[in-house]
Amino acid sequence: MIEVLLVLIVTALATSLLGVFLVLRSLAMTTDAISHTILLGIVLAFFITNDLRSPWLILGASIAGVLTVYIIEVLSKTRLIRPDASIGIVFTALFAAAIILISKYAADVHLDTGIVLMGEVIFAPFTRTEIFSWSIPSALLQMSIILLINLLFIIIFYKELKVSSFDPKFAFIAGFSTTLIYYILMTLVSVTAVTAFDAVGSILVINFFVAPALTAYLLVKRLATMIWCSMLFAVINSVSGYFIGITYDLSIAGVTSFVAFITFIIVFLLNPNGFVSRKIRSLNQKREFNRAMILMLMNEESHQSLTKSEIISHFHFNAGKFDKHMKYLIFNNYVTRTNEHYTLTELGEEYTHYTREKYDLPV
């Protein structure tokens, strides 16, 4: 069974490597479109070869993937259709054609709509290849080759990818062909997606591409770190997805995708600049601001001595909030209380004076 896990991890690594650049260039939905339309390529090539493991399928699917990107580009360039709408139209139409072809002509063979949806990584070890007298699952061999190709692509074109992802205009001026890089990237995406097809199916593969990269994107700022981080999350997601899936007898690809979402949400909420810490920071800021405003009010002329109800009506505080603020201010010796009237202490005067200086307010 360890072979299943290996196939899953290698798939996740190969996809998340490219995913980093897809996320940076906002190509996630284009990739989603490709992962759907490669099915049409697979089906058509399958009709010609009648063999699901034939390399022609990969070729057919890659052509379909690149063609999808091209059609989307052409449609958007006519300016008749918005880019997002053309993505939505193109992939649904081609995917619908593929589904009809499968259910009408290929229903009795291995290629059914179930694999399309979630693959069957669990069956990967059954198709095996001999290499150096070792017997390993074919899917593992194929995915490892793809991983190697993707890795080489990123190492060789690292500079070009970096520049054209972050500053396409500079890349153009500097004489890189961004279009060439873009099409090589999308070809690799198609090839990777079709090779991963058996393991994770055509709809969930998009999750393997973008989820680890998006999670890494939240955490780090440097491209190289983002790539490492994204690969780390890919491994974490697939290992936990595998064990949950095996334990409870669930679709492994499905579970891995949802685990990837949970990982993302955890990082989204808890990272140093994430949702929770931002909320806490803004609450702190609000509290400090309110306290400063109370002090500033009491520093104004004719407001030197105020009662609780006067302050409350001025700021529309509720009583509990006021008590909390005032307790803090009295405890820290900014304010004193005599006969229900609050006045600034020396420290409070000093604070307000300093604040006026700081923000250029009239003293």
């Binding site: 939505g88 139209i89 054609a97 009809i100 979630m118 990837a260 989204f268």
Partner: protein, 294 residues
């Protein structure tokens, strides 16, 4: 051929899909014009775990409860997308891809759980919600579509002016006091009613097409909002009828893909033949030029 056209089942199904596609065309125009057409895709995928979850909780495949589950998960997906794009540097594009695939993954995981568990009977039909199989639609499915579409259309008509202003001039709509949150909620309601009730006919994966394609067709033929809406709605309904017919007459053809291919055919024709289309664009531009210099 006449056998199919006059058969009761076909008529029921055709009425259902036509009403659905008509409403879909109207609802989709809003999101296409706002440049957010793929949100429908994410919501569509995200409704699937809702269908499976409500099946697991209630235990039977009953049209209304399944649709309710779909609606709830669709709303959760929508607000997750909103929250992610608002509170992090992740773009809409990335958030959509993440949400649609992970929610669909959850649906797949739950589905494998239900299928492997002997406590749940009659799970076969759940697959129909992925690609759509209108042939198995019951009259209750059609009633649900009609009720939901009626609500959608009613909301659309009541708030027609607000929607129009909100789409074309969001700044102006804010200044005259149209609440942005309310409008987003309204548009979400209109869209999600179409998606949740259309799952059985078109399927979770492809439902976004009946939202986008009619709207694009409408925009190709006209620049006036009401005309775009009507052309969109009617081309949706036409494609729904054709698709349902093909699916019923031919064997082993799922209805959803058939409707979508019919819509795509209309779309391709429109891209070439409409006044703004590729073939007539030159003539159209020439005319515009003449008008200017007359």
């Amino acid at each position: 051929m006449m056998d199919v056209l006059t058969s009761f089942t076909f008529l029921i199904v055709a009425i259902g899909t036509m009403v659905l596609a008509f409403t879909g065309g109207l609802a989709g125009t809003i999101s296409v014009m706002k440049g957010q057409s793929l949100i429908g895709d994410a919501i569509g995928h995200a409704t699937f775990p809702g269908v499976v979850l409500s099946f697991m909780l209630i235990g039977i495949r009953e049209t209304f409860t399944l649709a309710l589950g779909a609606i709830i998960l669709g709303i959760i997906a929508f607000f997750s997308i909103q929250m992610i794009t608002k509170h992090s540097k992740v773009t809409l594009d990335g958030a959509l891809a993440l949400i649609l695939s992970s929610f669909f993954g959850l649906g797949m995981a739950l589905m494998s759980f239900v299928q492997g568990n002997p406590d749940y009977g009659g799970t076969q039909g759940l697959n129909d919600y992925i690609f759509g199989q209108a042939a198995y639609m019951l009259s209750s499915d059609v009633y649900l579509i009609i009720i939901a579409s009626a609500i959608s259309l009613l909301l659309f008509i009541i708030f027609y002016h607000q929607i129009r202003i909100y789409i074309f001039d969001p700044v102006f709509s804010r200044t005259i006091g149209i609440n942005e949150n309310f409008m987003n909620l309204l548009i979400l309601t209109i869209t999600i009613l179409v998606i949740a009730t259309g799952l059985k006919a078109v399927g979770a994966v492809l439902i976004v097409n009946i939202l986008i394609a009619p709207a694009v067709i409408g925009q190709l033929w006209s620049n006036r909002f009401p005309v775009v809406l009507l052309i969109g709605g009617f081309s949706g309904a036409t494609a729904a009828f054709t698709g349902t017919y093909i699916s019923t007459a031919g064997e082993n053809i799922a209805t959803g893909p058939a409707i979508i291919l019919s819509l795509s055919a209309i779309l391709v024709l429109s891209i070439f033949l409409s006044p703004k289309g590729i073939l007539r664009r030159g003539a159209h531009k020439g005319k515009l030029g003449e008008d200017q210099y007359d």
